[in-house]
Every structure is written in C-alpha cells, then in structure tokens.
C-alpha cells in the first residue's frame, strides 16, 4: 500500500487547496472525503434533470487570486463570470439598482438620494483602501500578540510595522469597521434606506447578528475583500456552479500527484504519545501518515475526530465556546420561465434584461433586516427574510435546459436553534415563507417553479457536516477572528496534537470560499511564509 506523508480529512475546497499546495511541494498526499463527491459546501449538483445548482455556496469573490494563479485553476477548468449588478426591489413597486457602469449607477442612486450618489464613490474608495489594508492579513498565519514564540513575534513586528505605515485616517476607519455595527457605520455615509439596507446585508451574512449588532461592519468589509481582476468587491459566479471551484482545485491537486478518495469517512484521528499518526475510517481501515490535516470545523475536529481526552482542558473549553449558530438556509428553484419583477420593465430577450444577470437582494431597509433578525433572535424563521438571489443560468445557460433557468436563493434568517427544532414540516414552512416573500415582488414566480429544493441549517449540518449549519465554519465575529480563530494560541493552523493541523474556514481568515485557510495551512506545514 502506498505510504502517505499527509492525510487530509475532508475534501472541501480548503482541504483540496491544502492538498494541492502540499503535493506541489512534493509531499505524498491523500484526501479523504466522506461523501461520494468532493467539494464540501462548494459543490454543484444536477438536483433535477437538466438543472444544475450550486447547492450550498453559490458565488465566488473571496477566492484568493494567488490561489487561482499558483494552482493554475483556469487551466483546470475554472471560469469566473462577473455578476454585474444588484437589484433591490422595493415595496412601492420602485427599486434600487446598483450597476457596474459608473454613470448608470450614479444616476440610479441620485434618483433615491443625490447625496448618496456622491457619497457612494467616496465610500467605495475608503472600503477599497481598507480591503487593501487588511489584504496582507489574509495570506498570513495571524500572529498572537500574547505569544512569545520568536516566529510569531517577528510576524507581529512585521504586521505592526505594516499597520504603522498606513495613513492615520485609514487606521481610524479600520478601527471603526472592526467595532461598529453595519447599520451605524452606513448611517455615517448614506441616507437612502434601500441603499443602507442592501449594503448592510453584507454585514449579516452567515452570522446570527442583525445589522444593528456591533461587529457587523467588519463582516461587511470581509465581503468587500473579494478581488477579481485587481478589482475589490467584484462578485462572480463559477461557470458550472461552485462545484467547478472545487473540481478545479481537485484537478490541480491530482495533477501534482495528490490522491483523492471519496466515500471514505474518517471516524477518528489516531493519536499516540500526543502525536497524530494517521486516521481510522468508519469501515475500520487504518491509514498512517506523520501529518494529519483536518478540513472539518473545529468542533467536529476536536470534539469528534480527536476526542477531548487527548486535549488540554482549557483548549476544549475554548472549542466548546466557539460559536457556530447557523443562521441561513437556501432555496434552489428550477424555473420554467424568468421571474418578472414588477418594479422593472421586463420585455424582450434575456440579453436585454441585465438586472437578472446580477444579484437580486430583498433588503428594502435596515429595519426590514433588523426585524428579520428579531424573529431569529427568539428562535423563529424570519417572517420576512433577507434574500440574496442569483440566476446562474442567465450567465451560464448550460446550468439549465434551453430557455429554462435556475435560481439560487440564499436566505437569512433560518436559525439552527429553531424553537421546537427543524422537521420536514418546518422546512416546508421555511420554503413557503421564502417563495411567498419573493412572489410579492415577482408574482409569476409561483407558476414558474418546476422544482424546488429547500435547505435548512440542519440540512447543511447533516449533508455537508458543517456544525450547526454555519456556512463559515463558525461565526465571523471579532471574538473568534484573527489570532482567536478558532481558539486562543492555536490560530496558526497547528493544534495541541503534534502533527495534527487544521485547514478549514474555522481557521483564519475564515469562510466564503476563499481557499486561504487551505493555502495558509499548507504553507504552515511546509514551514514557509506566504
């Protein structure tokens, strides 16, 4: 039997990226994936005949450009199509659209608020500078200011020097972004409710917090860090769905010699004398390697695969305290025709309907989102949820049969800790709430639906294995970010078990199909800096 240097538990995009980098460096790598296909939550599936969906994660932006380059993902089949606009339908049959064309966008914003139209550019410029400022953080293992490890001190010094070099006003803005709520931060800039609502939505995604909760301004920035073709805040869609991201990384890993085994669920990490020595599969097979990397989230890794008996008590406590609190679900629709949003004139062929080539955001105001959160705060599905909708078939017609379409609806809030728990009936209720809400803006939606797939946080946990269905492998809140992700003193991809590493988005810099955790972990294992 082939001997491996490294076994990676979990074939999500981070596990695959980690494998690709390690294999590229000459290590013999084996990826073990529980499911029959790789990708984890970044996967595409033909859920209904002829209709392909990005079942879970559904857009690309945060995927690090250096990963695309270094692993030659384009050569391995990744093609990112830009999402060009965001349409926010409003209750009074009006709408707010944000277009990629500057003049068009300014004219549209001015229709709502001439002041906002002017502020918009300045705001964009500031966030661009902020995204640039934090960019070096993304591809480094975050140093712990409390650490005495000379390596970490060196990194800390380097980082300190870097931040000292930033203009004072940028530092102040950064501090505000780290501490404020998205709503408060946006209030400093804008007056249009629709614009603030839609912008603040970026601050709540994947988190059981409302736009008025402190800390959400950072999540807003996190979603600004996406970079496509040198442009920040550019969102895209992978041709063939988000499974194409995983497939391309897997192909790169295999091209470098990594082996990938699907249908291979890992039951335990083998530990001997405080060292990881391999894994045991659920079928009882034992596989040995001197390095084991877990792409699973911190709870599954430490409380499941490792077992607390092998871990220091304070570490176990930190992991227990690490917050997941999945807050979002998905509804995927196969459509016989395009939805007609009553707020937008919609005659003519699809190429004349640019608003359907971008995102549609149900976020008419900050109040709307905050009320949606109010329901979730007390354990209920939002009666009027926030939704981020894309129609991939508008950009990649091969996702659906000719003339038909697929719609992906990201929905918040659907709390994992639902009063009374999730059941089939509650799932249907959730699906109905989503469809009813959206049909208010696009009345033909119900008759256009050929099939629907409803995914709750409980489903995400059950199918993909993300604890509590949190899409980021743990909330992106300040108390569990940077050098605290996932646990104090263990943020640099290492763990209290020698030879056991983590590479999932439960590590710095977090989720969003960035691949950064996988890459950073590989570099840490190789003892290299980014």
């Amino acid at each position: 039997m082939k001997a491996y240097d490294v076994i990676i538990v979990g074939g999500g995009h981070n596990g695959l990226a980690c494998a690709a980098y390690l294999a590229r460096a000459g290590r013999k790598v084996l990826v073990l994936e529980r499911r029959e296909r790789v990708g984890g939550a970044a996967m595409s599936e033909e859920v209904f005949p002829g209709f392909r969906f990005s079942v879970f994660s559904y857009v690309v932006s945060l995927l690090r450009p250096e990963i695309i380059r270094e692993l030659e993902l384009a050569r391995h089949g990744l093609h990112i199509l830009p999402l060009e606009s965001t349409l926010t339908p409003l209750a009074n049959n009006d709408y707010l659209a944000q277009w990629s064309d500057h003049d068009r966008n300014r004219r549209e914003l001015a229709r709502h608020s001439p002041r906002d139209a002017e502020a918009y550019d300045e705001f964009g410029l500031l966030l661009h500078r902020m995204a640039r400022a934090v960019k070096p953080l993304l591809s480094t293992a975050p140093p712990d200011p409390a650490s005495l490890d000379p390596r970490e001190l060196f990194d800390l010094l380097r980082l300190g020097r870097y931040f000292r070099g930033l203009p004072e006003k940028d530092l102040h803005a950064l501090w505000k972004l780290l501490t404020m709520s998205a709503a408060d931060y946006l209030d400093e800039w804008f007056e249009s409710e629709a614009l603030k609502g839609t912008k603040s939505a970026s601050g709540i995604i994947g988190t059981l917090l409302g736009p008025r909760s402190p800390g959400t301004a950072y999540v807003l920035l996190h979603h600004y860090m996406g970079e496509l073709d040198g442009v920040f805040r550019a969102w895209g869609f992978a041709k063939g769905g988000n499974g194409s991201v995983s497939a391309a990384i897997a192909a790169a890993a295999q091209a470098h010699g990594a082996d990938i085994r699907t249908g291979a669920a890992v039951a335990k990490v083998l530990i001997s004398g405080g060292r990881a020595t391999g894994v045991v599969l659920e079928n009882g097979d034992e596989l040995r390697a001197s390095v084991v990397v877990s792409g699973a989230d911190p709870r599954r890794t430490f409380l499941g695969l490792v077992g607390e008996e092998h871990l220091p008590e304070d570490f176990v406590r930190s992991i227990r305290r690490y917050k997941f609190r999945g807050a979002s679900g998905k509804v995927n629709l196969a459509l016989g025709e395009l939805p007609r949003f009553t707020c937008m004139p919609q005659d003519g062929p699809p190429h004349l309907l640019p608003h359907l080539r971008g995102a549609v955001s149900i976020s008419p105001s900050v109040d709307y989102l905050e009320r949606a959160y109010d329901d979730a705060k007390y354990g209920e599905i939002s009666r009027r949820p926030y939704m981020d909708i894309v129609m991939p078939s508008m950009l990649d017609p091969s996702m659906a049969p000719p003339g038909k379409h697929v719609m992906s609806i990201f929905v918040q809030y659907a709390p994992y800790h639902l009063n009374g728990g999730w059941s089939d009936a509650r799932r249907e209720e959730f699906g109905n709430t989503v469809i009813d809400t959206l049909a208010q803006y696009a009345p033909n939606l119900k008759s256009a639906i050929l099939h629907r797939q409803v995914i709750t946080p409980a489903d995400i946990e059950r199918i993909v294995g993300l604890s509590e269905g949190n899409i980021f492998q743990g909330e992106l809140t300040l108390q569990q970010m940077f050098f605290l992700r996932p646990a104090p003193a263990w943020s640099r991809y290492r763990t209290p078990i020698h030879g056991l590493y983590q590479c999932g988005s439960g590590t710095h810099p977090g989720g969003g199909v960035m691949g950064a955790s996988g890459r950073n972990a590989a570099l840490a294992i190789l003892g290299r800096r980014a």
Binding site: D103, D229, P350
Partner: protein, 392 residues
Amino acid sequence: MLKTTPFHERTAALCASHAWRRWAGHIVASSYELSHEREYHVIRTAAALFDVSPLYKYLLRGRDAARLLDLVITRNVLKASVGQVLYTPWCDHAGKVIDDGTVARLDEQLFRMTAAEPNLRWLEDNAVGLDVDIADVSDSIAALSLQGPAAEAIVQSLGAPPLKYFRIAPATLRGIPVTVSRTGYTGDLGFEIWTDREHAIALWDALMDAGRAYGIMPAGMLALDVARIEAGLMLIDVDYVPARKALIDSQLSSPFELDLAWTVNLDKERFVGRQALVAEKERKAQWRFVGVELHYEGLERLYSELGLATRLPGAAWRTSVPIYVAGGQAGYATSGVWSPLLKKYIALAHVQARWAAPGTRLEMEVTVEHRRKWVVAYVARKPFFDPPRKRA
C-alpha cells in the same frame, strides 16, 4: 462617408454604448453594452454574435480558380477538397506577408476568399493567362460570426448540417440560403454564416431568435479583441505591418516571422514569394511571433510599492511595447490584455529568434503611475486558450 453594414438596422438599435469602431471603411459596434465584459464572457460560455461583414470577400470561379489561389497563397489549394477552408497568409515576391485570411473551396471551380485589405488588383495581376473570373463580393455578401460553446446547437437548430473544424457547407436556415463555415477569430467553437445582402436582416433575426434560449448576445470588437489574443491570433496593422504599407524593410514580416511556418508549403512548385521563403527557411527567420505572459507578482509589486492595487488592462491594448533581455531590447509586444478567463496578463510579441523558446525569461515595459518600469515576462505557448470543443 463611412459605410454601414447590412446588419446596421439591427446592430444600431442594440448599440446602447454608442461606441462604434471603424473597420475597412465601415462602422461596427465596439461593444453593444456599456462595457464589453459580458460580451467577452458570452463567447466562452454561450454564444456571441458578431457582424463581420466588413471583411473583403472575393469569389473566384473558373477552371483555373484553384491554380490562381495556389499561386497566390502559401498553402496548397490544389489538395483542398470541396468544403474545406484554409487559413492562410499571402506574400509578395520577397516573401513578405501582404495579408492573411481564408480560402474556402465551395465547389471544384468555385472559391471564396476573405481578406482584411482590398486584394482585387493583386488577384487579377496574378491571374494573367488563367481562366478564372474574379468578383469582389465584399458589399453583396453579408457575414455573421457566431462564436461560443452554444453556437453549434444554435445553427443546427436552424437546420445547419454538422460541420468539422474548418469546413464549409451550403445550408438553408429558416428558408434563408447561406453558407456556413466552422471558422472564427475567437479560438472557440464557432461558425461564420455568409448570405446575400438582401437576406441579412432575416438571418440576424433567425439567429437571435434561435439563440435566445441558449443565451446568445450580440458582441462587438472589444470583446473579440480579448478573445483573439487568448487564441493567439494576430491582427493586421496591429501585430504586423502588411508588406504594401511598410515604409522601411524592418517593418516587413515573413510568414516564418509571424509563426505561420505551418501555412507555408514549400513543396508547391510555384507560388508568389516561394524563392524568397526557401532562402529564408535555409538561413532561419531572425524574428519570431510569440505569446508572452507577464509575471503577476512582479506587476503587483510595482503597484503595491506605490500603495496601489494592481491595474490590469481589461480591454486589449494595441501599441508597440518594448521587450528586453538582460538590459538590451529583444523585441516588442504588439497587443496585450488581461485575460479574464485565464487570470493572466498575456501579450503577443515579436522577439529575436534566440529568445523565442517557451519559458524564456524576458522583461516587458509597463507604465506604472506615469513611470516606465520593467516587469518579468515569460515566453508562453500559443494559443493561450485552446478548448477541445474548438475542434471536437
């Protein structure tokens, strides 16, 4: 006055950007939308419809039509079968490229030639003593190019026969008599559809209508320029100076210098420029036309030093840019673009033959915030993008 194409009634109505470009005395859309971005991606994901009517087109008919073409172009026309299309350059007597285009054998004694520049006189002058009738059909034949993975499904849904790469056949699309060739300028799966001027609008409507379910979009020259660079396809007047326009010898290029050695058939007994090309093959071409990839991290560093995000050319540039090796000039790039698909900054360049091997480390000039800098670049294989579907 600039001319409009037979499709102008339709293209003008769709041209929201009001951005037009000149092409052989005609105006054609640079982009229909406000940005060419989407039009580019449609080429690679669905199907993009281009108006390529401004191409010069000649119909050659007669017993000696094949002989005339065989005499003029560098490839072997006599061996071409009916239904075959040849991409080819043609040269002057000194073996320097005059133009490049396609020659389609529509029948035993009937050919259609496309060219970027007028070539009627050149063809006539070479036809002395030959039994061939040459007609300039540039204005009477309208042409559309449908490019992208869905192009085949669209033309076949209208009744086009299956076609292999670089084949042409007559067809009737929704009652419209056309010829369809599996050719294009994007390096993708695609077709060019040729019809008489009077059928132009009906043909446009038929394609747009049939393409609707497949995500068809009209696309302009800006998108085409990105695609053709990815495909490693050169453009006259941009990547090379045609022999008739060269003011000094150093502006001239032979097919060998343009990476077109594969089109030069020296086994043919006689064709214009043969002697010169035989001699050049002997002594080996001094220049090569290559693909170049800029080193991204190098470019990023230059911008980063100034506190700026990397600026990338989303639209193709068409200027001459110096290329260096070890401090001395080794050549020049003639077009370049950030490939949104490959996520690479690519360029087409002329370099001295000894620097032409793939992987050779070069440096290319870039202007970063008003300052001229050099960025490491590597010779890369062309085409940069070559999907199997193109030939499948």
